[in-house]
């Protein structure tokens, strides 16, 4: 009788496979590209690790020139990482503070703020490009990673706040009061009793923030002028479009894979937190 569940399971897997097949194929191809001399259609032609040799110095040479046209891979990697980490942590701190206040305190305009944050989130970020450009320019933040951080955080914050508010709503007042009676200060109760219970929420916001910063493209493209501040997305973009009249699919594929690896690792470790999000369970608006 074990045949039935087996059959059921295999049906599920077959459907999953069919749906994900295009993606899997593309990534396989990308990988093959990065380790072969060239691709003949989809057939790899000659094995080589040459493309991966950029890992040794991080420099990409355009054949026949001595000028360093592209920024160093490691500089790009660290820019991307710094951008993602700063965005993630800023979002965690601000959303947990705002989420706590919105969940716990009654003040004038509270529900308006909650609705407004959602409306803001609904705007496609791209419609704000020009306005943001002027603002950043006026603030002297054009062509700096900080400028990108501010814009990203501002746009991501509503989601983060709602996630955190949902988690704070799930913690009964009694627990906080109990901590005060047991001997905590207000801040101590927040730190020792509230924060540990919203850990999953914090992780979720951290993960969203990191991924959103790591993959950010449009604002980097628009607000960053100097190669010194390029991130991976910009780098891959330049390589694919052949900015300097030079396209090497092997190197492009290699860089793309390097770009992806941290995300995959991150996801493997983070997915259990993402599964626990409840944005607005029994909350009050």
């Amino acid at each position: 009788m074990r045949i039935v569940p087996l059959l059921k399971n295999s049906i599920v897997y077959i459907i999953l496979l069919l749906v994900t097949l295009p993606i899997i194929l593309l990534y396989t191809l990308l990988f093959l590209q990065s380790i072969s001399v060239n691709l003949n259609g989809v057939i790899p032609n000659g094995f080589t690790l040459d493309h991966w040799s950029i890992l040794s110095t991080g420099n990409i040479r355009v054949p026949g020139t001595t000028t360093q046209y592209y920024p160093n891979l490691y500089l790009v990697a660290s820019n991307t990482f710094i951008l993602a980490v700063i965005i993630a942590f800023t979002e965690v701190v601000l959303s947990s503070l705002a989420g706590y206040a919105l969940s716990r305190y009654k003040f004038a305009g509270r529900s308006q703020i909650l609705t407004l944050t959602l409306i803001l989130h609904a705007f496609p970020g791209i419609t704000l490009l020009i306005a943001l450009f002027y603002v950043l320019n006026a603030l002297g933040l054009y062509n700096s990673l900080i400028g990108v951080v501010i814009v990203k955080v501002a746009l991501d914050l509503p989601l983060g706040i709602w996630i955190m508010k949902g988690f704070f709503d799930g913690i009964p007042w009694d627990i906080e009061m109990s901590a005060l009676v047991d001997g905590c200060s207000r801040l101590g109760a927040w730190w020792r009793v509230i924060m540990p219970n919203v850990r999953n929420g914090l992780m979720a916001v951290l993960i969203f923030g990191f991924l959103s910063g790591w993959s950010e493209f449009i604002y980097v493209l628009t607000f960053i002028a100097s190669q010194d501040y390029w991130t991976f997305s910009m780098f891959v973009y330049a390589l694919t479009t052949g900015e300097y009249s030079y396209i090497n699919p092997g190197i492009t594929a290699t860089v793309a894979i390097i770009y992806m690896i941290p995300v995959i690792i991150f996801f493997l470790f983070a997915q259990k937190y993402l599964l626990r999000i409840q944005i607005a369970g029994k909350s009050t608006v």
Binding site: D174, I175, M177, S178, A179, V181, D182, G183, S185, G188
Partner: protein
């Protein structure tokens, strides 16, 4: 150990008067119950004593020290919340140890004390579990242990037994009372269950809509309720209230109702002599003080509710139904006439308008 004094204590939430001008004195080592229906301000009072809520008006004294501005952590009170409020992310051990850790006690002392109090409450085996892995009764014991372990001056309990099943409740009632008498901790116990209050407390403060109705021993509340509210709230089978007007005939006071007359015993005449004849009053008598089968009054058996050991006999006296408590084996038939009388020294008379007791 300390005594607690509440002076003109009030707490308003916007326009809701959760607690209104409460005056209460709790002696050192005393077990006091705050009793009242849902929403009468019991929890609010407790939270003000714990220091979570700031009073809108009034003063809180521990011994003779004014506590209004002392933060909760410096009041050394232990509290068991209505919901138990265990910390979900901590094991049972860490939950109980939490107050001691905050006091920065040495590790081995913490371990010893937690073990001690856990064994006392019979939860020594559960120390590694998380609160979510406990039954309601076990959670309640953990909450008790957490409140006791810090050796509080005052022990506050907010309906700690309300989530337990009936059997466990009776067992815990006795255990809590025993524990309080052993440790002699000044205890304030909130409940809406008058049986709990009557069986456990030294004194009971009855609250209604934020206002103190009466403060006294269980015996006082039972025998000498100050008003209709207290009279109706105390007692497992509610008191009978019979409406009527106070009349005088041949030097005797009587209560004249729609279809019935009740004589008021001579012993009370002194108290009644200042009341105007014709005043609307309410005669109160507990079902256990209605004797049936003989006596000067009669009515029709309306319905009989057997309770096992006892039975409640509802008697129609014409326009009013009164309940009498009779032994379970007493034979009555619905629809038959029945004679009854009141135990003379157990009747009460309330003013209809104010609800205040004359007797």
């Amino acid at each position: 150990m300390v005594s607690v004094k509440l002076v003109n204590l009030s707490k308003y939430f916007h326009n809701v008067k959760a607690v209104d001008n409460l005056n209460l004195e709790i002696k050192d080592g005393e077990f006091v119950a705050l009793l009242g229906p849902s929403g009468c301000g019991k929890t609010t009072t407790l939270l003000m004593i714990a220091g979570i809520y700031k009073p809108t008006n009034g003063y809180i004294y521990f011994d003779n020290r004014l506590m209004n501005d002392v933060p909760p952590k410096d009041r050394n009170v232990g509290m068991v919340f209505q919901s138990y409020a265990l910390y979900p992310h901590m094991s049972v051990f860490d939950n109980i140890a939490f107050p001691l850790k905050l006091k920065k006690r040495p590790k081995d002392e913490i371990r010893r004390k937690v073990k001690e109090v856990a064994d006392l409450l019979g939860i020594g085996e559960l120390l590694d579990r998380k609160p979510s892995q406990l039954s309601g009764g076990q959670q309640q014991r953990v909450a008790l242990a957490r409140a006791l372990v810090k050796e509080p001056d005052i022990f506050l309990m907010d309906e700690p037994l309300s989530n337990l099943d009936a059997k466990l409740r009776i067992q815990m009632r006795a255990e809590l009372k025993k524990m309080q008498k052993t440790f002699k901790i000044t205890t304030i116990y909130v409940t809406h269950d008058q049986v709990e209050a009557m069986t456990m407390a030294d004194r009971i403060a009855v609250l209604n809509k934020g206002v103190l109705q009466q403060y006294g021993s269980p015996d006082e509340l039972y025998n000498r309720p100050k008003n209709i509210f207290v009279a109706g709230f105390i007692g497992s089978v509610p008191m009978n209230f019979i409406r009527g007007a106070l009349k005088r005939t041949n030097g005797d006071y009587i209560l004249e109702g729609l279809d019935y007359l009740f004589k008021i015993p001579r012993t009370y005449h002194d108290v009644l002599k200042d009341i105007e004849v014709g005043t609307e009053v309410i005669l109160g008598v507990r079902p256990e003080h209605v004797d049936i089968g003989f006596g000067e009054y009669s009515g029709k058996v309306y319905v009989v509710e057997p309770l096992g050991r006892d039975q409640i006999i509802h008697i129609d006296i014409g326009g009013e139904i009164i309940r009498a408590l009779a032994p379970g084996d007493y034979k009555v038939e619905e629809g038959k006439d029945i004679k009854f009388s009141f135990k003379e020294d157990k009747i009460h008379i309330f003013d209809k308008k104010s609800g205040e007791a004359y007797i």
